[in-house]
């Protein structure tokens, strides 16, 4: 599904990614861990096409397409979704209007008719329940006046509405209490089918208790230095990153 080869990237002239290789197949969940500033968010921003990040070398293909040649909205239409680490507030744009536009733009891309208003509202109601998002929030402006937890739930709600095939959860667990974490994770699990793949960026094991990764990667200083199975996340939780740094230096 997603294939990253020798990816180098910089922001404001500073090189952050220094040769990342990563292949994610259909239906796979990969966890991405690493110290602060290692380049995890840079990688996710590059996948979704954030204009502040510049790719200096390497390639990314998504289902055979050259992802780096696509506009951010085209990537979204192709099925890529980012759950933002810090969701943006958009005063004056209602959640309903925002999502209706987003859903119908995707449908246009897929050659489908716009959703009828009643069908759209019905879909909103159903998906909202999935993450137990208060109906009052849906009537507000996008993320405006939402608590940290509500914003994260709102991200998963949007994911439910847009039905992506490839998701990036960028520290979706940060700032969530135990119950909210469970709701968000269970929501994600119910949305995922055997074709959906994901990158989960996290500092903690606890999200991975709910969402079982097929692989765990450690990103340090702009490179993936170690890859393992779910047990690697547990080991990091117990031992931190220093032992991996030491291992890398020896090589």
């Amino acid at each position: 599904m997603l294939e990253i080869k020798n990816l180098h990237a910089s922001v404001n002239g500073k090189e952050i990614l220094k040769g990342v290789d990563l292949t994610i197949n259909d239906g796979e969940i990969h966890a991405l861990m690493g110290t602060n500033g290692a380049g995890k968010s840079t990688l996710s921003n590059i996948i979704v096409g954030h204009p502040a990040y510049e790719v200096t070398e390497g390639s990314i293909t998504f289902n055979g397409q050259d992802l780096l040649a696509m506009k951010p909205e085209e990537r979204a239409h192709a099925g890529i979704f980012l759950s933002f680490q810090q969701p943006i507030e958009i005063p004056g744009v209602s959640m309903t209007n925002f999502l209706r536009t987003a859903v119908n733009e995707r449908r246009k891309y897929l050659g489908l008719e716009p959703l009828k208003s009643t069908d759209f509202l019905k879909q909103m109601r159903e998906k909202r329940k999935l993450v137990e998002l208060d109906s009052k929030l849906v009537n507000r402006s996008v993320n405006e006046g939402f608590s940290g937890g509500e914003k994260k739930r709102n991200e998963i709600f949007q994911m439910a509405m847009l039905e992506p095939t490839f998701c990036i959860l960028d520290e979706t667990d940060s700032g969530l209490d135990v119950d909210a974490l469970r709701i968000v994770a269970e929501g994600f699990n119910r949305l995922k089918d055997d074709k959906t793949s994901a990158i989960i960026i996290t500092h903690y094991q606890r999200l991975l208790d709910y969402i079982r990764p097929d692989k765990v990667h450690v990103l340090l200083n702009g490179r993936i230095v170690k890859t393992g199975d779910a047990s690697l996340a547990k080991e990091i939780e117990d031992r931190g990153f220093d032992w991996i740094k030491d291992e890398t230096e020896k090589e």
Partner: protein, 447 residues
């Protein structure tokens, strides 16, 4: 004397008798004095603080035709405009150029309310007119007001007697309709006596592809305990120049809301002067401007608190695209003794391109020591983070930009108390941002 001024002085001296002979009698009394004031003051220059963003001399320089002989331009506006603001049924009146349309409806519900040309007004309304005419719009204070007073020949009058209420919204459509370049001088008088209530909507439309110069002076008198909701919406084209001076005199215990919307224009200057003369009144001034190409919009407001215990709110928002230029100057003047004044002023602006320019001047001038006043102003660009967030959800850049601009304006349109108008305005704003209101092709409010 500049060439521009000379042109109007010569014109008046040549045509004064024709003007008077073809004018409503009530407008003739202060005419000569107004002309004298114009001769001595002339047009305001760019050096004058209140006019530094609008070149008045230049705007008045071209040679426009005038219709002093009041020749009827054959048109049936009721045919052209089929009004269907959804859920808003209005009393519909037309002013074609500066003539009140001859077949305007006659309003008579037995309350004594009068709507229409001052020429046909009953005695009571005429008395009220004479009592207030040029009393609020001081011809000595402004060259454009002086010129308008010297040249105007008809006035649209709204007269609501003591404790009466206009139950339906009055909608006055100002049509600009001519085959050659034309200057029009409109006059409006609104008198709400004690305890009176009215909701008024004025819409400006240009029908033909020639240049228009419109001056308009509106005098509003709000007696004690009266309630006024007024909306002005301009939807002209890029060859139109509008100078509108509005003077509002507010008594005690009033609630007055004046809303000015510029959707499409050429060059626009709106001056609003509000004087609070009675205690416990509340005044709201709202404005929204959408401009692109080389359009210019200059709103200049003054709210003067002369007495204690009044409240004023002011909110103006501009969205400027392409090479549009916007200006806003809002002065709140709290006179000595006007204690317990509460005043809030805000001007927020969005420049969507690097070429768009905004000049913003919020001003507070306070001579009382127990007041609560605030003012603020922002000029910004579209939020890049919000744009990207929307793109990530599959919303194309242009659509995302439009949503953000609309959201910005909606903070003003939300304040419109007249719900059907608010909905209609949202629809029009949306069309405007999509470039579908490129030229006024008739009243899009009404069609």
């Amino acid at each position: 004397m500049t060439q521009s001024e000379k042109q109007y002085i010569d014109l008046y001296e040549e045509c004064r008798e024709v003007i008077k002979a073809n004018s409503a009698e009530a407008l003739n009394a202060p005419r000569e004095l107004a002309f004298k004031h114009f001769m001595s003051a002339g047009f305001p220059t760019l050096k004058k603080e209140e006019y530094k963003y609008t070149d008045v001399q230049k705007a008045f320089a071209p040679d426009y035709g005038l219709n002093f002989k009041r020749i009827d331009i054959p048109t049936d506006p009721f045919e052209v405009f089929r009004c269907n603001v959804p859920n808003l049924s209005t009393l519909l009146y037309f002013v074609v150029n500066d003539l009140c349309f001859k077949d305007n409806p006659t309003f008579n519900d037995g309350s004594g309310i009068y709507l229409g040309s001052i020429k046909q007004a009953p005695e009571r309304a005429k008395e009220a007119f004479t009592q207030h005419y040029t009393k609020h719009a001081d011809t000595a204070s402004d060259g454009i007001t002086a010129l308008n007073t010297a040249l105007a020949q008809d006035a649209f009058m709204v007269y609501v007697p003591r404790h009466q209420r206009l139950n339906k919204t009055l909608q006055v459509i100002n049509l600009l309709h001519a085959k050659t370049d034309l200057m029009v001088n409109r006059r409006v008088m609104i008198v709400l006596e004690e305890g009176a209530q009215a909701t008024l909507l004025f819409c400006d439309h240009a029908m033909d592809n020639v240049s228009f110069l419109a001056t308009q002076v509106t005098e509003i008198y709000c007696g004690n305990n009266s309630h006024l909701d007024m909306y002005e919406m301009e939807e002209n084209h890029t060859q139109c120049t509008r100078f509108s001076n509005t003077y509002v005199n507010v008594g005690a215990d009033c609630n007055v809301s004046i809303n000015n919307i510029t959707l499409y224009n050429g060059t626009t200057r709106n001056t609003t002067r509000v004087t609070l003369q009675g205690e416990h009144s509340e005044v709201t001034l709202n404005g929204c401007v959408i401009a692109d190409k080389n359009q210019k919009v200059d709103n200049n407001t003054l709210i003067e608190h002369q007495v204690p215990n009044c409240k004023s709110n002011e909110l103006y928002r501009y969205v400027l695209d392409d090479s549009a230029v916007g200006a806003f100057a809002g002065r709140i003047l709290v006179q000595p003794g006007a204690q317990k004044t509460v005043s809030e002023e805000n001007n927020a602006n969005l420049c969507a391109t690097k070429q768009a320019r905004m000049y913003s001047q919020p001003m507070l001038e306070i001579y009382a020591d127990d007041v609560k006043c605030s003012h603020g102003s922002t000029v910004g660009v579209l939020d890049e983070n919000a744009l990207f967030y929307m793109q990530q959800r599959g919303i194309p850049t242009e659509e995302a930009r439009m949503l953000l601009k609309h959201a910005f304006i909606s903070q003003v349109s939300e304040k419109i108390r007249l719900e059907p108008l608010r909905e209609r305005l949202n629809y029009l704003v949306n069309k405007r941002f999509r470039g579908q209101l490129d030229k006024c092709t008739g009243c899009s409010l009404c069609k």
